[in-house]
Symmetry: C2
Subunit: 357 residues, 2 copies
């Protein structure tokens, strides 16, 4: 069904063939998930059965899992672009769209097949992938439930003197123990002034009484990812910490109420941004409000000041306002949210509390 | 020093400017490590100071860490390609090399600056990155020591009935507890017939007495990665399991003895491949013998039948023969290896034993 829909969209834009080039999109269309950055290409001719090129290394898994396509192997020492060239030559195509190609491969293809026009067009894939099916939503819900366990565990083990990496160890252990097949991204635990780094990973720094601690993590279920962030303080928060926390929480809650099918992504972002700006921290909210989540951790639609996206039923997005004050610390509160027709649903469910009881 | 060397190499091939486009290469040249897949670009003019473009999100970290460059921010809603175009226009360059660009960005740049020639050339970066400095080797050694702890822990917890994901949980917990800032890749624990999948991640499958179990993991230290695989059996291995294990181990050991500066990568691969072929399992060794490891998990040089690489002092590579029999299971034994002038050094040090005592 997905391939049929893709072919129909290809016909609409005039592609004789389309190259699906990411492991996650290949999984979406065939059911076979190769490792990240694996060289894998699904060639979809508009009027014939698709051909999946996988490395010999992935042959057993592909044969077990890939549906709706012929599988052909790229053996050791053979080159993917050569195989694709040969296949396209046989197809006698004139216009070929593709999801994403590195330039040297694009040049290789377009210089070898001079009468074929190659057009980058990732939207063709995202058009489908950004609307999640019930099955996909069920997997994301399970990944979200695992992430909630990670957050709860992190909150439970937080105490003065524990190292950032030890908190990560406990949270990840809890997620793995209930079946997380992988993590959605490198888990982040940053504390004290390090909490002002939105992407700070974790260090061996000991967490102190009074530190702001940002915990940002996610799990993977059947390839689908979740994403949640909580900010906590061990002990009694300072008035400034509480003020920033409440501001960010208010921004998140108000934005949440605006999320539904038909909402403009930039307007949802603007709601959160206005609140943080009025609270005096506008210049410290240095990223967009959110992003789509699915097989990839950062997908369309994008929620930001210049986004042109409009939300649709079935989008799964993050809602994650943040304030980062260099030298002081940061606060981010993030949930994974499902877009319904007239409302939004938080599918990560951990309570957003600054102080762990 | 690294930037000076890069400029000299640029001059040799006639580039007026070069775009360093991966987060890991930007870290290599500036000391600032952004998250994977972050939009970050270091523009290196051949005769001026480099300019680092980072998203506003990464501004605090970049200002703390990036050396030898001017930092310019790409603010929310601004587009990286526009910034790069503007910078290149001011530089009045004619020939620009780049590490890697997605095609739509390449087309954007080359169509906007029609009198500039843009050439993909990742080798310019790898030429330097594949020779590790003493500091880099020290970090990889630490990452390797963490991976050894992960392997030892996995071996200790293996017992009939434990789930693959629980073994992962324990191994990762041990690595995190000693300061792993991240994992080198998604940890793999595959057992029984699943061990025939070279990239099988992990599942909730319970490991049984007599299952072959492949454990493949790595840790990250200051951005540098390690990579190790061990294959174990709980209980008494079958004669066939032992035979395959000894064959793979023999192949690995014989290949190891051939690793030194000046060795041809394809010849090292051929040594291992010949042994496995003579043992009757040639067609089950479905991948190259190894790959470089560093800031990325798969780097040059490549060890495989058609590789043109020649090993150099300071290369860090994997040595990982494997045999995968569909329906039966697999054996892979992998170490991270440092190339010296006249010999090789195993820097992952776990003993390769089929049976955990």
């Amino acid at each position: 069904m997905r391939i049929k829909a893709l072919k129909s969209a290809m016909a609409d834009v005039g592609f004789d063939a389309y190259l699906v080039t990411s492991a996650t999109s290949v999984y979406y269309f065939t059911g076979f998930l190769d490792i990240r950055d694996a060289p894998v290409t699904l060639i979809v001719p508009v009027d014939q059965e698709p051909v999946l090129y996988v490395s010999e290394l992935s042959s057993v898994a592909a044969r077990d899992e890939a549906k709706n396509c012929n599988i052909k192997l790229v053996r050791m020492g053979e080159q993917f672009p050569n195989k694709i060239l040969k296949e396209l030559s046989m197809l006698r195509v004139r216009r070929v769209g593709f999801e994403a190609l590195l330039t040297h491969i694009f040049l290789r293809l377009s210089r070898s097949l001079k009468d074929v026009r190659f057009d980058p067009n990732a939207d063709l894939v995202w058009k489908f992938r950004k609307i999640k099916s019930d099955t996909e939503i069920a997997y994301i819900r399970r990944a979200a439930a695992m992430a909630d366990v990670g957050i709860r565990t992190a909150g439970e083990v937080l105490k003065p003197g524990i190292r950032e990496c030890e908190v990560v160890a406990e949270a990840e252990y809890a997620m793995r123990s209930i079946g997380a097949e992988a993590f959605a991204f490198d888990t982040i635990v940053v504390s004290g002034s390090r909490s002002a780094l939105p992407h700070g990973s974790c260090s061996t720094k000991k967490i102190q009484l009074g530190d702001l601690v940002i915990i940002d993590l996610g799990a993977v279920c059947h390839g689908y990812r979740s994403d949640i962030t909580r900010t906590m303080v061990i002990g009694k928060p300072s008035p400034k910490q509480s003020r920033i926390f409440n501001l960010v929480l208010n921004a998140q809650e108000r934005a949440f109420k605006a999320i539904k099918a038909g909402a403009k992504a930039w307007q949802v972002d603007a709601i959160a941004r206005r609140i943080i700006k009025r609270g005096g921290y506008g210049k410290y909210f240095i990223h967009g409000l959110g992003h789509g989540v699915g097989l990839d951790i950062h997908e369309p639609p994008k929620l930001g000041p210049k986004s042109k996206d409009v939300l649709s039923k079935g989008n799964v997005i993050t809602n994650e306002p943040g304030v980062y004050v260099h030298g002081f610390g940061g606060v981010r509160i993030e949930d994974t949210v499902l877009v319904h027709k007239n409302e939004a649903e938080r599918i990560t469910r951990s309570p957003p509390e600054l102080v762990e009881d």
